[in-house]
């Protein structure tokens, strides 16, 4: 038998658009063991206490990015946050902040997907290469220049941590700008000039006021604040280069 079972209270922010005008809190008593994640606690509620509770989840190992929630007010992946760390206090679970709630713990993330699509998140080759020519050579140092920024799992915790996104939904935001930076930094890519237009734009990097909380909550150590702030410098450079060489620079 697993270790002795204890019971923890989980307070969930519920919202069903078909019956509720506004979200409300509901408390469940959940038996748990020390190795149980908050996700497993929420799953227990769905399986045995209230089948109508809705939330996203899949891999259980912090790589698919589905199960982001506000846990005691902090954006967290519920699969790698453990109930033992809250017991015997009650733990509060809510849909990710700054996003519209579709239902219960499910947010509407269509806006993020549009942003991701807008940044041209694919290699725009610097030089063409056929398959017969084999791979592009890329040294470990060149890989290192962007690898960290390619580790984003799109869990959106950084958006839930970004008050500027909360205040202005048009802000491209940490994860999408980080992905943009990831492609710009890739030695195989030559698309920086095209992507800089979005960096410089009204919805671009200058919405960021360097709060830095996005990097704090990132479960994959991607450091989106770094990517965004480096692009403030890049954007300024881009601006002045255009002054110096109206036809040259980076367009």
């Amino acid at each position: 038998m697993p270790e002795q079972q204890k019971t923890i209270e989980i307070e969930v922010l519920r919202y069903n658009p078909e019956t509720d005008q506004v979200p409300y809190a509901q408390v469940f008593a959940v038996p748990f063991t020390d190795d149980m994640s908050v996700l497993q606690g929420v799953q227990y509620i769905k399986d045995y206490l209230d089948g109508s509770l809705s939330f996203r989840w899949s891999c259980r190992m912090a790589i698919c990015g589905s199960c982001g929630m506000m846990i005691n007010g902090e954006p967290s992946l519920s699969c790698q946050t453990f109930l033992r760390d809250y017991y015997p206090e009650r733990v509060r679970v809510e849909a990710l902040a700054h996003f519209p709630i579709e239902r219960d713990l499910v947010i509407n993330m269509e806006g993020f997907i549009e942003k991701l699509e807008s940044i041209q998140p694919y290699i725009i080759p610097k030089e063409a290469r056929t398959l017969a020519q084999g791979e592009y050579l890329q040294t470990p140092a060149q890989l290192n220049a962007y690898e960290q920024f390619s580790s984003c799992i799109n869990c959106l915790l950084c958006y839930a941590a970004c008050p500027q996104f909360g205040l202005n939904k048009d802000f491209v935001g940490p994860a999408a700008l980080t992905l943009l930076h990831r492609y710009n930094m890739d030695s195989r890519d030559g698309g920086q000039a095209e992507r800089m237009q979005l960096v410089n734009a009204e919805e671009g990097v200058f919405n960021c006021t360097a709060v830095g909380y996005c990097s704090e909550v990132c479960p994959k150590h991607v450091d989106p604040a770094n990517a965004v702030n480096l692009n403030k410098t890049n954007s300024a450079m881009d601006y002045f280069l255009r002054f110096l060489a109206p036809k040259g620079g980076t367009k």
Partner: protein, 595 residues
Amino acid sequence: MEIFKADVVIVGGGGAGLRAAIAVAESDPALRIALVSKVYPMRSHTVAAEGGAAGVKLPSDSLDYHFSDTVGGGDWLCEQDVVEYFVARCSAELTQLEHWGCPWSRTADGQVNVRAFGGMKIERTWFAADKTGFHMLHTLFQTSIKYPSIKRFDEHFCVDLVVEEGRAQGVVTIEIASGEFTLIEAGSVIIATGGAGRVFRENTNGGVVTGDGMALAYRHGVPLRDMEFVQYHPTCMPGTGLLFTEACRGEGGFLVNKDGYRYLQDYGLGPAEPTPRNKAMELGPRDRLSQAFWYEQQKGRTIEGPHGSVVYLDLRHLGEAKLRERLPQIYELAEQYLGVDPAKAPIPVRPAVHYTMGGILVDGLCSSPLPGLYAAGECSSVGIHGANRLGSNSLSELLVFGKVAGEEAARFAKSVAPGNTASLHKQAQAVEQRVLGLKTKTGGSERIATLRKEMAQTMEDGCGIYRLAETMQKTCDKLDELKARFRNVNVEDKSSVWNTEWLLAIELEYQLDVAQSMAHSALQRRESRGAHQRLDGFEQRDDANFLKHSQAHYVADGPPRIDYGPVKITKSPPGTRAYGAAGEKAERERKASHA
């Protein structure tokens, strides 16, 4: 009901589905592609693959070696012509992914690096640290955005195929956010929905891995092939089943029992050497390693933990720096979920269900017996895995056969006339009524979770690492019972928006069908081969009677009908599967006899 007209509809937005979508788009930009996925594509379970993807890379390696490792690893139940096709295309596909931006790990001079995996003669696993599936999936997803002809139906749940005039002509989906139905008409349909590992209790799979596409094809008369072969991965987290990649052993990790003894040397995998030797010890194939665990457990040489017996995966001698570089995700999983620092302490592990070798019967061109229906990836049985899949072959499979499925489905779609919208629509409305009925009916008393748990437990009991007729029969009976009880299932939630309880009920019905095909195929295979091992008088491989593929046919309101199909042998007649020193000896003898 909304109607969307596509040329090719793809169900499943993981590695195979995305690769197929890109292949259709590249083969003819005028074709309209509908890509249906019940989750946003980057959530698909490809994301969780860790270790890497196989493709011949080193000058010392050869296509023949890759072929032999695959066919031998599959205990000769592979379609050898398909394997030949496969191994010849892996590296090109992996290079294609490199051109699309996949951050493969590199050697100092900038070439793609390769590592060793189990059952592999020469290192040929391309990897992106220990997040290969993650990087492949995101690369494919992001690249797919380039193609305007790919119309994604994200978070759309497929509930049925529409079959008219004897061919697949589209699918019916639910938009999860609204609960509304859409008919997607298409000239051809590709299923790429992944495996079905979650029919078992302890598994490495994500919640989405429920065999949806397998069940859909199966119900429309397409056989599921080789379903009894379910891979147990030897090194998983006790309790949750989360995966510690084979790359842990590829990088030099040890498996030890409670005495700190590298027990694999007792099971024909030795000799034990301090550094990894390919195809020996910890780098043996997954079926053998999981079986060795079972014997250690019988001998009382495992460690008892809160979630059952465990052995130790010891990575300490690799040192923190190497672990952080090569196995960063493993490091964090061990630290966060188990509170174990793998540089300082060994990680407790046990086998868990990982992969479904079998699947929708398709030929080497991914075409199923139902015209217009194609399948690729884990949901399919194209014939490369046989009775036991070699680690790293599945990620390459997604690419090679995702592309084939896309090209073939595109070709087929262009060859057929548009369907009769009125009658397709009528069919779709009947589907809608049936599926809505599951939610609107009242008076049910069975809890979804209870049925699901009982199914998962009985599958583990009957179709585990070692199998007995008696327990397999019990599992078959239990599944009959669960299917009967399912008719009385209770969906409390009657709402439309994000009604996940309703979807869980539909998934459970898929799972029960797939579980039945596994249990009955297993019961009727009276031999031991690869991942199917019996202890009741059928301990040996029996080529005379069972060098053939099982095919489970769906029977409404009854157990599946099992028949058998031939195995294609081109150049490798069935031989003895041997690893370690014995394997090297056998290979020398084989070479000598050929010479």
